[in-house]
């Protein structure tokens, strides 16, 4: 009884995540790549975080307001925000991710144009906001309005697709730690996104990664920002509940 009452509000701690065997992609990296992520200066993702910091106080749109005009110091106001996304938005009537949350703020509050998905500006702002939650455990809500979205995400995750006829689970649940060409298969956790991916030589969002993975199994990818990917992101975030955020993480 007591346990039931205590669990839903608090969410899993990093220790709970470790005990449950959830492992960040960081643990599958080689030591040099881990060092690159750890190095506050050399981590290339910090270029985007700093660009996002500049955008945070840049006035935009018809209202001529910046993010900082309403939210003030991001270190305080945006702390732990990224741990809760994707989340159900009553206003939107669906689950939205952090990128879309920022966009809603832009189009409604600032009356500015929405950012192009995967644009430098969007990646920078998302990375800046997410980095305010670094070290805090992932804790998304999957009940209430998010329940149906979560269920669709779970279905997506186990659905075989593409010419290779593989589901996400085939690799990221059943073959974790095995080698796929030159790479080690990770659990597919997204606690470090947006990530600086060395293959891409740039920062990339969860949706770019999903699309990349879908293409790798020779399936037609969905569009970045599509509801299919938002649902999947919700499921994958829940799957990594308790894992501390690492934004901007460095990955192969």
């Amino acid at each position: 009884m007591l346990l039931l009452a205590a669990s839903p509000a608090s969410g899993d701690s990093p220790a709970d995540a470790a005990k449950a065997g959830r492992r960040s992609g960081y643990e599958f990296l080689t030591p040099p790549t881990q060092q690159l992520q750890n190095d506050e200066f050399a981590n290339p993702g910090m270029l985007w975080v700093e660009a996002g910091k500049a955008l945070w106080s840049q006035r935009e749109g018809a209202t001529h307001k910046s993010c900082a005009d309403c939210h003030d110091d991001a270190a305080k106001s945006m702390r732990a925000v990224a741990t809760r996304y994707p989340a159900y938005s009553k206003e939107a009537g669906r689950v939205i991710n952090l990128e879309q949350r920022i966009d809603r703020c832009r189009t409604r509050r600032q009356q500015a144009s929405a950012l192009v998905y995967e644009s430098k500006e969007q990646l920078a702002l998302t990375a800046f906001v997410s980095s305010q939650s670094r070290g805090l455990p992932t804790n998304v809500a999957i009940d209430g309005g998010a329940a149906s979205s979560f269920e669709r995400g779970r279905e997506f995750y186990v659905q075989r697709r593409g010419q290779l006829n593989l589901s996400c689970a085939n690799c990221h649940d059943q073959h974790v730690g095995a080698h796929l060409r030159g790479d080690t298969i990770s659990q597919g956790q997204v606690n470090g996104f947006p990530i600086y991916r060395q293959l891409w030589q740039t920062l990339g969002s969860t949706h770019r990664m999903f699309a990349w993975c879908n293409e790798a199994v020779r399936a037609e990818p969905y569009a970045a920002g599509s509801q299919e990917y938002v649902d999947l992101e919700l499921y994958v975030r829940w799957r990594g509940r308790g894992l501390p955020l690492e934004t901007p993480a460095v990955r192969r």
Binding site: A42, P44, E50, A51, Q201
Partner: protein, 107 residues
């Protein structure tokens, strides 16, 4: 959005001390050998020169070529002898220059 830079110069140093200088710029360093999804060649777009000067004297110069990774990052050492400004300049192939600078106080 302009290409932003990150630099690290220690604010203070003892005379004769050897300090580490770090500099990075956000840049795709497009090598000209890639094609986009339509099969069209992506033209070369690189930084060609990086120069660091200390108290108006050039101390470090690199000529960059296609084939370097994106977001070039340099780390090197400087013997601090006098207080001054450490200046960085990245020149792109179209001659546009991005600069950054930070003072160092030598005691």
């Amino acid at each position: 959005m302009a290409f932003n830079t990150r630099i690290r110069v220690p604010a203070t140093a003892k005379a004769g001390e050897i300090v580490e200088i770090r500099a990075m710029i956000m840049h795709p360093m497009e090598n000209g050998f890639r094609v986009d999804t339509q099969g069209t060649a992506i033209p070369v777009d690189i930084i060609t020169d990086f120069v660091c000067s200390y108290d108006a004297a050039e101390i470090f110069r690199v000529r960059l070529e296609p084939g370097l990774a994106a977001n070039p990052y340099f780390s090197f050492f400087l013997k601090a002898t006098r207080s001054g400004v450490v200046e960085f300049a990245w020149t792109a192939q179209d001659e546009s220059v991005t600069t950054a600078s930070a003072p160092i106080e030598v005691t």
